[in-house]
C-alpha cells in the first residue's frame, strides 16, 4: 500500500506557529467579548467584518453562522485570520485593550474558518445567472475577493492567473509559519466552487491581450500585484537571492532550498523579516538584517520586529550595501557603507546619507534582498495612468481605461499593502462593477 504524502512537505520548524484554539479555549475567549455595539474592532477591520456577531455565534455554538458572518464581509477570512496585523487593526481597537488583554479576534476567526473548511461546508447557494461576463486578472487576494463577490451576484467570472497556482502572495509569499499553503489553496478551491472559472498560466502581454478581453468581457478587474524585487544596482547583485523567491521555495520546495551559514538580509520590511525567519529556522548560524535607516523608520510591524528579535536575528541599522564580493561564484562578504540621517525625503522619512570613508565588509555566504517590489508593468503595456508608478484608480476603483478596474497592491500608492486591504479593494470594486453593469442594463 502506498500512502500519498502532503503536496508541499514542509520543514517542522516552518509549520504554522500558532496552534488552533481548542473548542474550550474558543468558548472561553468568545465569552470574554463584551459584544460592543457599533464596535471599534469592526470599524478598524478594513473589510468591516461584524466581529461581535461572529464571536457571539462561536459562543452560542453556531460555527456555521459565525463563518458565514465572516465570509459575507471577507471571502478570504481564513487567510486574514492568520496574516492580518491584528495589533494594528481589530485587536488594536478592542476596548478591552485599554486595561486588559484584547480579545484574540484573529484566532477566533480562524476557529470559525477552520470549522467550515475542515468540514468542506459550502456556505453560499448558487444564484441565477445574469449572463454578464467579467475578467479578473491576477488570482491573489484582491482578484479572488472580486471574482468571488461578482460570482455571488450571478455573473460569469473568469479568473486569469500568471502562475501555476492561484492565491498570489498567500500561496507564494507568506511564510508557512503564518499561513500554511493549504489554507490559501482551500480558499482558491472555495472561490472556484462558488462558480469562478480559473485559468492559470495566463499572462498579460504574452497570452492575454486587452482587445480580446474587451471583446469578451463587460468589465475587467486588474489585481496583478507588483513585480519582482527591486534592483539595488550594485556590483555582484546577480549573486543576491530574491526574497520573494526565497520565501516561495521555502513553501513549495523546501528540500531544495540551500541556506547559508552566515546570512545577510537586506531590508527591514515584513518580507525581509520573513526571509530572516526562514534562514534562522532552517539552520543559519548567523542572520543579520541590514537597513539604511533606523528602527524608527523601518516598515515592519512592531510585533514582527519583536518576533524576529526573539528569533535571535541581529540588526545593523544605518548600513547600505554597495558591493557583493565572491570567490568562484560563492559569496564571501557584502561591502557596505555607514549612513547618517538627513532631511526628510519624498517618503516623508529622513533621507539616509553615506558617511564618507565608512566602507566595511560584512562577512556573509548568502545574501537575500527584500527591499520592495517593482511597480506593475501592465500600466505601461495598457497605457494606464499611474500614481508614483502604481495604477491610478478613481474612488470607484476604475482606471483611466473605461471598464477596466484595479485593486490590491498594484494600486497601493498610499498606505501599506496588506492582504486585508486587497480583499476590501476586490469587494468594493465588485460593487462598482455591479453598479456599472446594472446601470448599463
Amino acid at each position: 500500500m502506498t500512502t500519498k504524502g502532503p503536496l508541499f512537505p514542509t520543514a517542522a520548524s516552518l509549520e504554522e506557529l500558532l496552534p488552533p484554539l481548542t473548542p474550550q479555549e474558543a468558548l472561553v475567549e468568545a465569552t470574554r467579548c463584551l459584544m460592543c455595539f457599533d464596535a471599534p474592532c469592526t470599524h478598524a477591520c478594513p473589510t468591516h467584518i461584524d466581529i461581535p456577531k461572529f464571536i457571539k455565534k462561536i459562543y452560542t455554538g453556531n460555527l456555521r453562522g459565525s463563518a458565514r458572518t465572516i465570509l459575507e464581509s471577507n471571502l478570504l477570512g481564513a487567510t486574514c485570520a492568520r496574516v492580518c496585523p491584528v495589533q494594528e487593526l481589530c485587536e488594536g481597537a478592542c476596548v478591552l485593550g485599554i486595561d486588559h488583554k484584547p480579545i484574540s479576534i484573529g484566532r477566533l476567526q480562524r476557529h470559525a474558518m477552520d470549522h467550515v473548511y475542515g468540514k468542506a461546508i459550502q456556505l453560499f447557494p448558487e444564484v441565477k445567472s445574469t449572463g454578464k461576463s467579467i475578467a479578473v486578472i491576477g488570482a491573489g487576494p484582491a482578484g479572488l475577493s472580486c471574482a468571488g463577490e461578482l460570482v455571488k451576484l450571478g455573473h460569469s467570472v473568469t479568473l486569469f492567473e500568471r502562475r501555476d497556482l492561484a492565491g498570489g502572495l498567500s500561496t507564494y509569499g507568506i511564510i508557512g509559519l503564518r499561513e500554511p499553503i493549504e489554507v490559501a489553496l482551500s480558499e482558491v478551491a472555495m472561490i472556484q466552487k462558488l462558480g469562478v472559472k480559473l485559468q492559470t498560466k495566463k499572462e498579460i502581454g504574452t497570452n492575454l491581450h486587452l482587445a480580446d478581453l474587451q471583446a469578451n468581457f463587460q468589465a475587467i478587474f486588474l489585481s496583478v500585484g507588483l513585480g519582482n524585487t527591486s534592483r539595488l544596482g550594485i556590483p555582484g547583485e546577480e549573486l543576491i537571492l530574491d526574497g520573494l523567491e526565497f520565501i516561495e521555495q521555502s513553501k513549495l520546495q523546501v528540500h531544495k532550498l540551500r541556506i547559508g551559514r552566515n546570512v545577510v538580509v537586506i531590508g527591514a520590511g515584513n518580507t525581509a523579516i520573513d526571509c530572516a525567519t526562514i534562514a534562522k529556522r532552517l539552520g543559519a548560524e548567523r542572520v543579520t538584517m541590514i537597513y539604511r535607516r533606523t528602527e524608527y523608520e523601518m516598515t515592519a510591524y512592531p510585533h514582527e520586529y519583536e518576533f524576529i528579535k526573539g528569533e535571535g536575528v541581529a540588526f545593523e541599522f544605518l548600513v547600505q550595501p554597495i558591493h557583493v564580493h565572491a570567490e568562484n561564484a560563492s559569496v564571501k562578504s557584502l561591502e557596505c557603507l555607514r549612513m547618517t540621517l538627513g532631511e526628510p525625503d519624498a517618503s516623508g522619512r529622513p533621507a539616509p546619507r553615506p558617511v564618507p570613508g565608512s566602507a566595511f565588509h560584512l562577512p556573509a555566504d548568502q545574501v537575500v534582498k527584500a527591499i520592495g517590489q517593482q511597480k506593475p508593468s501592465v500600466a505601461s503595456l495598457w497605457n494606464l495612468k499611474t500614481e508614483k508608478g502604481f495604477i491610478q484608480v478613481s474612488d470607484r476603483f476604475e482606471t483611466s481605461l473605461d471598464g477596466v478596474y484595479a485593486g490590491g497592491d498594484c494600486i497601493r500608492a498610499r498606505g501599506s499593502a496588506s492582504t486585508v486591504m486587497a480583499v476590501e479593494d476586490g469587494k468594493l470594486a465588485a460593487r462598482a462593477i455591479q453598479e456599472r453593469l446594472v446601470s448599463r442594463g
Partner: protein
Amino acid sequence: MADLSIDFAGIRSPNPFWLASAPPTNSGAQIHRAFEAGWGGAVWKTIGAPVLNVSNRYGAWHYGGQKMLAINNVELISDRPIDVNLREIAQVKRAWPDRALIVSAMVESKPETWHEVIRQIQDTGADGIELNYGCPHGMSERGMGSAVGQVPEYCEQITRWVMEVATIPVIVKLTPNISDIVMPARAAVAAGANALSLINTINSIIGVDLETLQITPNIGGKGGHGGYAGPAVKPIALNMLSALGRDAAVSAAKLPISGMGGISDWRDAAEFLLLGASSLQVCTAVMHYGYRIIEDLCDGLSNWMDEKGFATIPEVVGRSLSHISDFKNFDLSFRAIARIDQGKCIRCNLCYVACNDTAHQCIDLIAKDGSVVRPHSYDIRSNGREEAVETRPHVHIRENDCVGCRLCFNVCPVEDCIQMIEEPSGREHLTWERLTREQPEVAEDWDEMQKYRAKMGIEIH
C-alpha cells in the same frame, strides 16, 4: 476580630456555616472531613423511608462560560440504611462536640413513624432535627417532602406529632414551590416548631439536549423535574427569607431562621444574615469546589464585620429588613439619574444600545466635533486601530430625559463607570399610598393623572 459563633434555638456552633442536608453530608466520613476543614455544623442528609436512586441524577445550568450557576437533582433522601446513618451520626457527634450536628428526617405521614424516627435521632446525641418538607421530586410522589410542605395543614399536623416527642430543637424546612411561603411558616409556628429553614430546592427542568432531543439529565430515555439550587436561586431565597421576617405572625414568634439558597461566598452569607437568617446552610458551592470554601466564608465574613464594626453575628441578623417595603411606600419624588465617568468609559456602547433599544432613549453618541451622530456612521473606507479609536464617538446621557431606570448601570462592564446619582426632584416626599389616599382620582382616571403631572412638573417623554 468578630465573634462568628452562634446559638441557634439552643444549637451552638463556632461559625454560622452549616452544610445543608444534601450529598455533601451523606456519610460520617465526609462530615469528619468537613469539620476538619472548619465547617460550623452540618445537617445530615435526610434519613427516613427506604429508597432506590437512579443515575444521571444531577443536571446543571451553565451560563457565560461559568459552570454550574445552578444545579438540579433527582437524588432522593439517603439511600444508606437508617441504622448505618444513626450509628455514624452518634460517632460524629462524639468526635465533634463543639459542632452543630442536625439530622434531617422524612418519613411516611403517620404519627407513630415520625415518633420513632425522632426518638432514634435523639438517641444519637444529635443537636437538632430538621423536618424535610421540601424535597420536590420523587419523595413528593410518595406523599412526603414538598407534598407536605405545600399544604400548611399537613405541615402543621406533622410538626405537632414531632413536637409531641421532641426533646431537642426542631427546625421546619420550607419548600419554595408554593405561592406564599408565609403560609407553611405560620403553620410551623402554630405547631410549636423551634426554628425555620429555607429554601429547599425549586422545581425545574434544566434543559433539553439539542442533539438527542432528550431531557437533561437523561435517565434511560426519560427525565423530569428536579430540585433547582445554586447561585441562580439566591434572589428568590432572599425574597422568601425576608417575607418571613416581614410577616407579623411569623416574626412575633421570634423563631430563628436558617437561611440557604445559592450561598456561594461570604458576601452572599452577609446578605442572608442582614435579611434575617441567623444560621446559614451551603450546598451547591461545596458540590462545585469542595469543603475548602469554608475558609473564605469565615475569613471574608469576619473581615467585613470588622470593617463594619459588627462584633457578633446577632448584631448583623435582620439589620436590613427594615429597608424592605412595598411599592406603595416608595418615595415617588426620589430621583436618580445615570452619570457616566468619561475617564473610565471604554466606549463599548453597551449602555447606548440598551437605553436606545430597550429603555428610554436618553443616551446619545457624540462625535469629536460635539455633534450627535448615528451609530455605524464612519466612512466605509475608514479603518485601522488609530482611526477607529480616535474617531469613535463618546456616549452622553441627556440627564433631563433620564428616568433613572438603571439599565445602563447594570450593563456597563466597567466598575464604577456609570453611577446612579441622586438629584433633587424639587418635589416633596410623597408615596403612592398617600397620594391615592389624598387624591384617589389620579389612580382612576388618566385625565386626572395628567393634570396632576402637569401641576407637579412631572414630564414623561
